[in-house]
Each structure stands twice: as structure tokens, then as C-alpha cells.
């Protein structure tokens, strides 16, 4: 990729003299490249915008609330009197729904990926994969409807006393939503494993099952990790499913059968009201947002590290 940029087009590369080319054209070239560069560089401005807004608004929040209270208080009631600003009830909601979701999407997604990559006939896979990917295109508010009005009533038949809002059904639907991410990306990673590794395993008498789990999965582990990380990010940041189906009442519990608010659901419930700009309640959604941002970033950095650690080159 790099060599093609540099090697043959040396005479056109900006900076090099464009011999025999009119000034007008040279100016056009310069403007063209500058515009394209600005478009690419705008992504950095966007990042600065995100980080800047989060840092600025939450720094005013943390001028009122000590970090100590933020991490030790067991209640999160920024809009009540007396206000409490302990992040744990929101974190427990976020982690509970995410864990329920991931336990489904990582198990099912990995099995589906292995099946698609190692078992399914080629033509079947070419049909199944795009249809499965459609599942990830479903708007999340539709999934929320599904969680509240289909999954919860279904679960209530088996779990007596399950409240109408509960983290279990939201988590299950988050799991369903993230299956395509895990399955599709893991399958890509498994298919990128060179065939001679498989052939080697088969020649030793291994079955498809052994080959898949002992050879292909370890060899593609770096790519599979990326798939898991994407699913984790999506599950942590999922908003509408939890806001609709898990409730908006912060609840310090890791029991998925209870209602609870996630960080995202809290931001939504505050945004639905009309909070004055600059009030502590307004700033509290940015403090919650920063927590989510750092959590997601942390998982992404960990994923990046894992990917490098387990990268296999063939």
C-alpha cells in the first residue's frame, strides 16, 4: 500500500516541480490536496471536541463533588435533595447488563462464527452471513420495544415476581444485538487463517471440531479479540434498550432480575427533562459520560494490547 503511494508517482507528488504544467493547474492541485487534507484532519478536530467538552463540563462538576464522594457514595441522586453523587449504582447497572449481554453474544457468536467458518457449505455461508448482519442494523429502540414487551413477559413466565423493568431482559436483548458483531468479525478472522494449518491438523487425524477449536481459533485469536472488544464497547454504550426495558432508577445491585439504570439510561432520563444549562444536574450527565468514555477507552486499549500480544504472523 505504501510503496504504491510513493514509487511510481514521484513526479506528481506535491512539492516536486510540476514541469510543463500551467500555474492555474498547479494552484488547483494545491487547493485540491489541501481540501482533502482538511477533510481527513477534521476527524482530529472532532476528537478534540469530544474530549474537550467532556473534560470541561465534568471538571466543573468535580469542582462541586469530590472524586472521593464520586467513588465512595453508594447513592446517585443528583436531582434530588439532598443530592448524592456516587457513581456505583450507575456502574453496577452498566456492568450487569453488559455482562448478561456478553455472556450470550460471546458464547453464541463464537459458536456461530466457528460453524460458519469451518462447517457451513460455502453457498450457505454467503447467505447466512449478510442476513445475520441485518440483525445488527435493527434500530436499538426497536430492540427496546422487543425487550420490554416480548422478552420480559416471556421471562416472567419462568421467573415469578420478575418486575416489568429488569436488567435481565435488557441484557439478553443486548446480547442478541451484539451476536452479529462477534460472529461476523470472528468469522473473518478465522477465515484468514491459512488453509495449510487446517490441512496439517486433518492430516494428523483431527476432526473438524478439534481443528476448529485447537488450531483455527487460537490462530485467529487476535482478530477474535477485536470482535469481542467491539461487542463490549457496543454493550457498554447501549442506550435505548436499557432506557426502555431496564428502567431509569439507579440501583446498586448486580442482580440482573432487578430494575436498574445504566450510565446511558441516566443521561437519557435527564435529557428528557428540561435542565438549565450550567446547573449541577446538567454537569452530572457529563461526569457520567466521562466515566463511560473512560470505561470504553480502557477496554479498547486493553483490546489493542491483547491483539498485539496474540498476533500470529504467517
Amino acid at each position: 500500500m505504501q510503496d504504491r503511494r510513493n514509487a511510481p508517482s514521484g513526479s506528481e507528488s506535491p512539492g516536486a516541480p510540476l514541469r510543463g504544467i500551467s500555474t492555474r493547474r498547479r494552484v488547483a492541485e494545491w487547493f485540491g490536496e489541501s481540501a482533502l487534507f482538511l477533510a481527513a484532519a477534521s476527524s482530529i478536530l472532532i476528537t478534540l471536541g469530544i474530549v474537550g467538552v467532556l473534560a470541561y463540563e465534568s471538571s466543573t462538576f468535580f469542582r462541586h463533588v469530590s472524586l472521593r464522594a464520586f467513588f465512595t457514595d453508594k447513592e446517585w441522586t443528583p436531582l434530588f435533595d439532598p443530592p448524592h453523587y456516587g457513581i456505583w449504582p450507575l456502574l453496577s447497572g452498566t456492568l450487569t447488563t453488559t455482562l448478561v449481554g456478553l455472556s450470550i453474544s460471546i458464547t453464541v457468536g463464537t459458536i456461530v462464527a466457528v460453524w460458519m467458518s469451518e462447517y457451513a457449505p460455502h453457498r450457505l455461508r454467503e447467505v447466512v452471513k449478510p442476513v445475520l448482519e441485518l440483525l445488527s442494523a435493527v434500530p436499538t429502540v426497536v430492540f427496546g420495544y422487543f425487550a420490554l414487551l416480548v422478552v420480559t413477559p416471556f421471562l416472567q413466565r419462568f421467573i415469578p415476581g420478575l418486575p416489568g423493568f429488569n436488567m435481565l431482559s435488557a441484557g439478553i436483548v443486548i446480547g442478541i444485538m451484539t451476536i452479529p458483531y462477534v460472529a461476523s468479525l470472528s468469522e473473518d478472522a478465522m477465515r484468514a487463517v491459512p488453509n495449510n494449518l487446517r490441512e496439517g491438523a486433518y492430516a494428523m487425524g483431527a476432526t473438524r471440531f478439534n481443528t476448529a477449536w485447537r488450531v483455527v481459533v487460537p490462530a485467529g485469536f487476535s482478530g477474535i479479540t477485536s470482535a469481542y472488544i467491539l461487542a463490549i464497547s457496543r454493550a457498554l454504550g447501549e442506550t435505548m434498550i436499557v432506557a426502555v426495558a431496564a428502567g431509569t432508577q439507579p440501583n446498586l445491585t448486580f442482580d440482573p432480575r432487578e430494575p436498574g439504570a445504566t450510565i446511558t439510561a441516566f443521561i437519557v432520563s435527564v435529557s428528557l427533562g428540561d435542565l438549565p444549562h450550567g446547573s449541577i444536574g446538567y454537569q452530572s450527565i457529563f461526569a457520567a459520560g466521562v466515566t463511560l468514555f473512560i470505561l470504553t477507552l480502557g477496554f479498547n486499549i486493553a483490546g489493542h494490547w491483547l491483539r498485539r500480544r496474540f498476533r500470529e504472523a504467517y
Partner: protein, 335 residues
């Protein structure tokens, strides 16, 4: 020789091996079946989802009631409530999203594939775009609230919403553009340069047209993602009850721009009217659906299901078009 009490060691080994192989074979078959069942179950979810929405929302989408549902504003009375303002809002927000994300994304993609040299600036931009794709959508809403709504003073408007969603899906467009450009063989560029074309001319006359199918596919996918986004728009303060349409860009009695240019204020007023809708407050289909699904009255859930079905149909159609497009074009173009 006396009869052996036990079979010779070799035979025993064979039996064990046979049992071992049979056991492994069994596992292989069990997994093949289990995998197929799980795939079928995952696909069935999509079917159940559609079926539920059809069952629940059919009352509003029946031939005699769909007209009212589409043309009514929201209302306290479930049967009289409709999605007129949400439809208009979605269309206008998507328009702004489109003209934000596509030009910016395509230009950034072209720069990164055709121009960027391998230096630290490029590396930073590339890592940055990859990370932006992983930022939760609600964080985009917070950014837009702090920056667009309050710092730039754009308000809780269609413009703010469109810009937010446009930036949110920008990484999708960039990645799609880069993939499409990467598939163009190097010979095309060399041929163009050999004919004396400059880099910009090569991009305009060759790279851009040949990567257009891929860009189109990516753009459709990006818009289908944006159309279902709810959280960032709630965060910027989109209202859930809107009983008006944004002002039309021109009306029957609005005067044309004076030809002699005598009055600057007349030109301004035409321009003002043409862009007034950008500043308008709005609601969109997913927010309308969220509003209805959160109401305790189950009658409103019928409206929610009907809205959800429309939303789901639009997204599924867009994605199917994109997938088909990609598939057909991949078969037709043989470099």
C-alpha cells in the same frame, strides 16, 4: 498354549482408539448440529421481531388507518396520534446528515488512500478514525450538546441533529471509501499519469468514478445507521411532542430574488426563509417510538409498534439494497 485371559495388547489398543475416534466423531456431529441450530435461532430472532411488530402495529397500518397515522400530529389520544412531524423530521435530519457525512468522508478517504504519506500525522489520523468508530453514540450526543447547542448556539435544531449524526457515521463512510479505492488496480493510476494527467485529475476522472459503487454502498449503510439513532438526539434535547412542521424553504407568496439586486434585505429574507427549517425544533421516528413505548397506556404501544415497523422496514430495505449492490458490482467489475 493356554487360552488368553485377555486379548493381546495390540487389540486392546485398537479398541480404545476406535472408541476414541468414535467419541471425537460424535462431538463433531453434535457441534455441527448445535451450531446450525444456533444460527437458525439467531436468524429466527429477526423473524420474531418482524412478526411481533406486524402483530402489534397492524391496527395502525391497516389500509383504512394508515393515511391518518402518517398525516396526523402526535396526540393525547392514541388512535388519533400520528407520525407526521416525525416523518418530516427524519427526512430533514437525514438530508443534513447526508450532506455532512458523505462529502467529508469521501474526501478524507481519498486523502488517506491517494495522498497521505507515511508519517506520524497520517498515523494519528488513522488511529483517531478507528477510535472514533468505537465511541458510544450517547457520547456524541454529549459532545453535540456542549459544543453545537451551547457553544456554537445552534440550538436543539435540525441542523444540530444532522451535524451530530453526520459526524457519528463519518468513520463508516471513510472506511467504505478507502476499501473501494484500495480495490482499484495501480495500473489505472499509472495509465492516467502516463497520459499526462495530474494527481487531482486522476482522482477526479478515474479514482472517484471507479470507487463510486463502494462509496454508495457505504453511504447507504451509514445512513441506515443514522436513521435509527435515538440516544444522541435525545441528549441534544430533541422534543418528543412536536405538533408542527418545520417552515417550508419557500411558499407560494414568497417573492423571487429581485433581479436588479436593488435590495439586499430582500435577498436576505429569501435566504432566511430558505434556511429557516434548519433552525426548527424537530422530532424523529425513533424518538417518537421511544415516547410511545414509554407510556403505560398499551394503546400507545400499538403506535410504537407501527412506527417501529416503518423504521425497521426502511433500515432493512436500505441494508438489503446496499448488500445487493455490493454483490452485483463485485461480480460485474473484473479488473
Amino acid at each position: 498354549m493356554s487360552a488368553p485371559a485377555s486379548p493381546p495388547p495390540g487389540v486392546l489398543e485398537d479398541r480404545r482408539l476406535i472408541a476414541l475416534v468414535a467419541g471425537r466423531r460424535r462431538w463433531d456431529i453434535v457441534f455441527a448440529v448445535a451450531g446450525a441450530l444456533l444460527v437458525a435461532a439467531s436468524l429466527a430472532v429477526l423473524g420474531v421481531l418482524l412478526a411481533t411488530l406486524v402483530r402489534d402495529g397492524a391496527a395502525r397500518l391497516a389500509p383504512d388507518s394508515i393515511g391518518g397515522f402518517v398525516s396526523n400530529f402526535p396526540s393525547r389520544f392514541p388512535a388519533r396520534a400520528g407520525i407526521r412531524s416525525a416523518l418530516a423530521g427524519t427526512a430533514l435530519v437525514m438530508f443534513v446528515t447526508m450532506i455532512t457525512a458523505i462529502p467529508l468522508g469521501v474526501m478524507a478517504g481519498i486523502y488517506l488512500e491517494e495522498y497521505a504519506r507515511k508519517n506520524w500525522v497520517t498515523t494519528v489520523i488513522e488511529i483517531n478514525i478507528a477510535n472514533l468508530a468505537g465511541v458510544p453514540s450517547i457520547i456524541w450526543g454529549l459532545m453535540a450538546l456542549g459544543l453545537f447547542v451551547y457553544t456554537f448556539g445552534l440550538g436543539r435544531s435540525i441542523l444540530t441533529a444532522g451535524l451530530t449524526l453526520g459526524l457519528l457515521v463519518l468513520p463508516i463512510v471513510i472506511v467504505a471509501t478507502r476499501e473501494a479505492i484500495r480495490a482499484i488496480p495501480q495500473g489505472i493510476r499509472e495509465a492516467s499519469f502516463a497520459c499526462g494527467a495530474t494527481k487531482l485529475q486522476t482522482v477526479r476522472h478515474h479514482i472517484l468514478p471507479y470507487s463510486m459503487p463502494g462509496i454508495l454502498t457505504g453511504s447507504i449503510i451509514a445512513l441506515s445507521r443514522a436513521i435509527g439513532e435515538t440516544a444522541p438526539l435525545i441528549t441534544i434535547g430533541a422534543l418528543t411532542y412536536i405538533a408542527f412542521l418545520p417552515p417550508a424553504p419557500f411558499t407560494a407568496e414568497s417573492k423571487p430574488i429581485p433581479a436588479d439586486g436593488e435590495s439586499v434585505s430582500a435577498v436576505y429574507s429569501v435566504f432566511h426563509q430558505a434556511t429557516a427549517w434548519l433552525q426548527s425544533e424537530f422530532t424523529v421516528l425513533p424518538i417518537q417510538m421511544f415516547n410511545w413505548v414509554s407510556k403505560p397506556n398499551p394503546e400507545f404501544h400499538v403506535n410504537a409498534a407501527a412506527t417501529g415497523l416503518i423504521l425497521l422496514a426502511v433500515t432493512l430495505v436500505m441494508n438489503t439494497v446496499a448488500i445487493t449492490l455490493r454483490y452485483r458490482l463485485r461480480r460485474r467489475i473484473q479488473w
